[in-house]
Amino acid sequence: MSLFAFLTTQSLNALSQAALLFFLGVGLTLIFGIMRIVNFAHGTLYMLGAFVGYSVARSTGSFWPALLLAPLAVGVVGVLFELVILRRLYRREASAFLMVTFGLALVLGEIVRLTWGPEALQVEPPQAFAGIVFLAGEPFPTYRLFLVAAGIIIAVAIWQLLDRTRLGLIIRAASQNPEMVSALGIDVNLVRSMVFGIGCSLAGIGGVLAAPLVTASVGMAARMIIDAFVIVIIGGMGSFLGSLIAALLIAFTQVFGEYYLPDFALAFMYLLMLLVLVIRPGGLLGKEA
């Protein structure tokens, strides 16, 4: 394998991993940035996305409906949870949210286990992206290229939503001063429900897109939640751009670190987090420095 081929495939590996990490982290950071809620159920919602994706893909015989319906279903679960439970707690302190989202994680985790069983389930990549392409003579799965493209599309979409639309303006305003926004005649509760729903459905997208790589399994939730928090902490709590940069940083460190120093594979992500926290205690783009 030539150096060029090596660098190309490894960089694309890192980019595809970054895309998956980004889907995982961005919903969590969005919810935190706007609602000040640390959503412990995020990993479980990610897992739910993978399992719903499995069922939809299996019954329709295609991946595409799964990619549409799984995030929608997870988003609906998020909105219902916000309406029924979170809404009653906004006057409480932050620890109440920790407890209640942790509770949601436990309950949803058991529901998934009872519904789909304890065994890992296969989700095949979409037919159109099941093959390989040769990059500098090395085979590379097209599905990973698709992940990179999906990552870019979703990042741009969120950025456009937050920065260029009226809804985005209201969301940003509500995060800074909910009383003022409310006084201007905007239903802040509705904004919160929407944000929580969007954040959850982003976790759902992440789950269904990761499933062809890691299968849908009940172990997913626990494995993902730590990564999600590391991304949010490195990027800065609540920073959309921060989570994007953090996902890229982690993925590149992980992919090249595993290659050159495989014995430290487990440590890279945490070392990176440590380094960032020492230099910028609020995270790369966090506000509280």
């Binding site: 394998m1 090596f6 495939t9 490894q10 590996n13 595809s16 991993q17 998956l20 304890p118 065994e119 890992a120 389930l121 296969q122 095949e124 990549p125 390989i132 090395e138 085979p139 590379f140 799965p141 599905y143 990973r144 990761a210 062809p212 790589l213 890691v214 299968t215 399994s217 009940v218 172990g219 997913m220 626990a222 494995r223 992980q254 992919v255 090249f256 595993e258 290659y259 495989p262 014995d263 594979a265 487990l266």
Partner: protein, 406 residues
């Protein structure tokens, strides 16, 4: 303190001292155990990356207990399984097992799932006066340097699995081999044994790499295997990690270039990754396809109960409990000392044919099996076909050893 006027500093001190004295007492008085129930402790990793293995052990244990109880129990007593989840965490495994000893008066354990958990539990067995019969732990040290007299291993160990793969490789044309393992006790031990096997077989062992438990992206490891120039790669993985590795390896078309061989494979793996497992060659500790009457009976019983065929660890758990039952019947009691003496010379003819416990290091001697995953009639996923069987004398290391001489 006005509210609690009755409590003085002295009474507090006194009760604290009493508490400490109680806690420090050598052993809590054991709760009275109903003499007619045999309690078997199963602190299992039901969740976590190896949760699928723990779930198999649970099913294997439950069907055995149900069957045994329906036929009148064991030495006239009913069996009760104590099942708890450890999450695959060694500290939790020790804690849950200790609770079973102290709270339930349990003195028999099986099904402890990860080798790292088993290695944490065995040093406590003497203090607990408890027997632990492994149905699943691979790490060779358990019957070598970490061996304790109250430990028995009914299952095929990692060195025995690695040995079967290497006997198979000796007869193959593949010269250059590489290895990848999960980065914990079992993976490291298995790869170490395999490496020494390959060197003695005059194969070119190129190198090895270990992935942390819970790795999700295997692209770099796949690149490493591809770059190594190996014709065959030896894999020691299980659970979610193995599924992710195989799914991704197939996406990179790795099996077209490199033959994948593994120390052990469960049916949960081809069920989770489908065709990505096609062509995989592996040693298997138990395979439902074994051709003998006892096994056919077992498979039929299993299908009736669970509507599927028994998996690798399900068969191993069944065998371990059959071995235990034979030992208890021989001893005529579950008292730790007499059960230990009886188990040392117990042999059974069951689902894997003749399996005999070895007195010197408490390892059960049994055949080794190699399988290849291929499409099978009546199955929606690739199923194992037995392609080689090696006698126990060839696959079991010498007493208290985990490497081989020839």
């Amino acid at each position: 303190m006005t509210k609690f006027r009755g409590i003085t500093r002295r009474t507090v001190t006194r009760s604290a001292i009493a508490g400490i004295a109680l806690a420090a007492a050598p052993r809590w008085p054991r709760p009275a155990v109903a003499a007619d129930v045999i309690k078997i402790g199963m602190p299992l990793a039901l969740t976590g990356p190896l949760g699928s293995v723990g779930q198999q052990l649970k099913r294997g244990g439950e069907l055995w207990a149900k069957t045994q109880n329906a036929s009148g129990g064991l030495i006239g007593r009913q069996i009760q399984l104590l099942i708890e989840d450890t999450g695959g965490n060694p500290a939790d495994a020790v804690r849950k097992a200790q609770e079973m000893v102290e709270r339930d008066g349990c003195n028999i354990f099986t099904g402890i799932t990860l080798s790292s958990e088993a290695l944490a539990v065995v040093p406590k067995l003497e203090e607990w006066k408890a027997i632990f019969i492994s149905s699943d732990n691979g790490d060779g040290r358990l019957t070598a340097e970490s061996f304790v007299p109250n430990f028995f291993r009914s299952n095929i160990s990692a060195p025995m699995g690695a040995r079967a793969v290497s006997l198979f490789l000796r007869e193959s044309e593949w010269q250059n081999v590489y290895a990848i393992g999960m980065d914990y006790a079992w993976g490291r031990n298995s790869v170490q044994v395999f490496e020494s096997e390959m060197k003695r077989a005059n194969k070119n062992f190129i190198g090895s790499v270990f992935s942390p438990i819970g790795t999700k992206d295997f692209s770099t490891y796949i690149t490493k295997i591809r770059q190594s120039g190996a014709e065959a790669v030896y894999i020691t993985m299980a659970g979610d990690d193995y599924n992710a590795f195989l799914a991704q390896a197939a996406q990179y078309r790795l099996p077209e270039k490199v033959q994948l061989l593994s120390e052990v494979v469960d049916l949960t793996v081809p069920r989770a990754v489908g065709d990505a497992a096609l062509g995989l060659i592996s040693s298997m500790r138990y395979c439902f396809r074994l051709d003998n009457p006892k096994n056919k009976e077992f498979v039929a019983l299993w299908q009736k109960e669970y509507d599927t065929v028994p998996d690798n660890n399900e068969g191993e758990q069944w065998q371990a409990l059959k071995m235990l039952a034979a030992g208890i019947e021989k001893a005529g009691s579950t008292e730790t000392g007499s059960l230990r003496s009886a188990l040392e010379t117990t042999a059974i003819d069951d689902i894997k044919g003749h399996v005999g416990m070895r007195k010197c290091d408490h390892q059960a001697v049994q055949n080794g099996y190699m399988v290849k995953l291929a499409k099978g009639e009546g199955f929606s996923y690739p199923v194992p076909q037995i392609i080689a069987t090696y006698p126990g004398e060839k696959t079991t290391p010498a007493c208290n050893k985990m490497t081989f001489e020839d």
